[in-house]
Symmetry: C2
Subunit: 339 residues, 2 copies
DNA sequence: GGGTAGCACTCGGCACCTCTGAGTGCCAAT
DNA sequence: ATTGGCACTCAGAGGTGCCGAGTGCTACCC
């Protein structure tokens, strides 16, 4: 009983099941997948695969479907690398080049990925901590209210309002802004903390409280990884199949709304195969996503990852196709950010 | 046959059906709703209501369910005004007061509304055109790239990157920024257009092209109503009922992703009853939303509407409760923006 | 004239049945 | 190791009959 053929059988089962969404039996397997042996032989192989926990039977007289473990093996060792077609590639390129700002790039990317994969697409906004500060602005909103605005090199803008104890002198605000910009511009945001700590001492005693408040707000803004924004598209694709998966929709939608959960999942994903990370079913330690797989990878302006992008759908998804699409969009997204 | 009782019957049918999601027959109607007549009498009334197109029978031997027209009559003339409970009110207040900036206020509001109504909640970001400009910033992103940042009085920040033909002189940029702020600060964004038109003439010929580019981008940003952002929450509530409505989920999700559609619906809604607008089923001229109702109202910092907030769910929703929740959240949201 | 009681009628849904066919596991033969 | 054959299992489709909810109608009462 050749080990190699058994894996071929597994691959055939995954391919077929992904396409038809129906348990696949020994006969269709030999008919549709050019296996040069008889159904009986396949049955023996399938028994072994089931023994190994790679496939399972929904009920006695039905065909087999892959388990999470089966999909895992398929993804790691059996799937052939797909590439997105040239027209698709061109479409991606032109679409992303037409974007006017960061929001627009992200928005287009996520829609695009949803359309390419027919899954739910997720894009995380570029992380603040790894970007370089381009400009910092203090804008008075009222007598004692000030808006702090951070602008990064990749065009992300973050704002935060703060309330002061008493109305500050405009000239002091102006000086603070000048000093902040002198100190901070061009630095990575993650490096800022020690630099800013000394700033209050440079001001007259009366103003130090105000300066400290502003510095604290800036630091808070940088620290809040939970502030990281996420954008979704293609949630309607979850309802593509009226049958079994439809009962699973609700917990998935709930998980998608919990951006914190989603962020955690994205960032925790180790990139295994060719820079793309795949989490299958129960591997996502979140009960609502037990029948859901996530394919994700990082993107960034100059080689290093500033954020992630991914696709999410039922475990029975087209992994090679999804992986290819995620990789392609990530690549063009990186390029669009750099340019 | 008293007209008044017939309307009572309609109200009872709506109440019951909203609660049970099952067609309601003449018997349960008298049993559960304290109507002091016999089922036979009710049947006559129901026949009349059906004749009038207010209720309908799914099939011959079933009870009645309200039609869109029936819900409309209910909302306009029969529903009793509900108020949110005092603890709920207090919860809304404290939650919204804890918000740190505009994004946070909007985010909290939409989640809150979704939780209160058990529907999908929608909040439109405050419109740019009606806000006052607080500050305008030009930030160089590269030799020929400039980021234009608009900051409004209610804390909204809008940015747009632009590409120049040649690298501008920093001093010219500084002067342009100063002039723009002098001209535009404190004005309503909608008034800006004529004011900005004269600006290029004030600059040396060499720089006029650059100035014109910047002005054009500012104008574009203001003009783009389609840029208006929308935030959703509670989409998982769509999947609350596994049965009939679940087949309708997909088109609804698709409509929700088309922010343009949603924006159109929100802005077109006339406010009828007590400041809250209700669109029922087919009244939404969008085929995906034929079984969906929307309850919406405006909110704004000082009395006038700067944007809208609403809830969306199956036509068989609890209208009085939803209306009350939308109104309450809108009120506190307005207050949070003003404060 | 409006309300009521009684009655015949309709029809969806449930329980029950059978039958079919897909699919399996095992065994003996190659 | 592979294969054909065979007995076995079982979900799902299709058919049947019954029940009960609900109706519309008509005759009757106040």
């Amino acid at each position: 009983m050749s080990e190699e053929r058994r894996l071929q059988v597994l691959r055939a089962i995954v391919d077929d099941y992904v396409q038809t969404h129906e348990p696949v039996g020994s006969r269709v397997l030999v008919e549709r997948h050019g296996l040069a042996v008889s159904p009986a032989t396949i049955r023996n192989d399938m028994a072994a695969l089931e023994e190994a926990g790679l496939i399972q039977q929904p009920h006695t007289s039905a065909g087999r479907i892959p388990t999470d473990k089966g999909y895992r093996l398929f993804v790691d060792r059996l799937s052939t690398v797909k590439h997105v077609s040239t027209p698709e590639r061109r479409a991606i390129q032109t679409l992303l080049e037409g974007a006017v700002d960061l929001d627009d790039v992200v928005d287009r990317s996520v829609r695009l990925l949803a359309q390419l994969t027919h899954q739910v697409a997720v894009v995380q906004y570029p992380s603040l901590r790894r970007s370089t500060l381009r400009h910092l602005e203090l804008v008075p909103l009222g007598p004692t209210r000030v808006l702090v605005v951070l602008i990064t090199d990749n065009g992300r803008v973050e704002q935060r309002a703060l309330e002061l104890d008493r109305a500050p002198d405009p000239s002091v605000v102006a000086e603070l802004r000048a000093r902040l910009n002198a100190l901070a511009s061009g630095r990575r945001l993650a490096e800022l903390q020690p630099i800013l700590a000394d700033l209050p001492a440079a001001f007259p005693l009366d103003d130090q409280a105000m300066v400290r408040t502003v510095v604290r707000v800036v630091e808070e803004t940088l620290a809040e990884d939970s502030e990281e924004r996420i954008v979704l598209a293609g949630t309607a694709n979850l309802a593509r199949f009226r049958d079994d998966f439809s009962s699973t929709i609700r917990p998935v939608l709930e998980a998608l709304e919990e951006q914190v959960v989603l962020l955690g999942l994205l960032t925790e994903m180790a990139e295994d195969s060719g820079g793309v990370a795949v989490r299958i079913g129960h591997e996502n330690l979140h009960e609502g996503l037990a029948e859901t797989s996530i394919v994700a990878t990082g993107y960034g302006s100059d080689g290093d990852t500033v954020a992630r992008i991914g696709a999410l759908g039922p475990t029975r998804m087209d992994y090679p196709g999804t992986i290819a699409a995620v990789r392609a969009v990530a690549r063009y997204l990186s390029r669009a950010l750099a340019g």
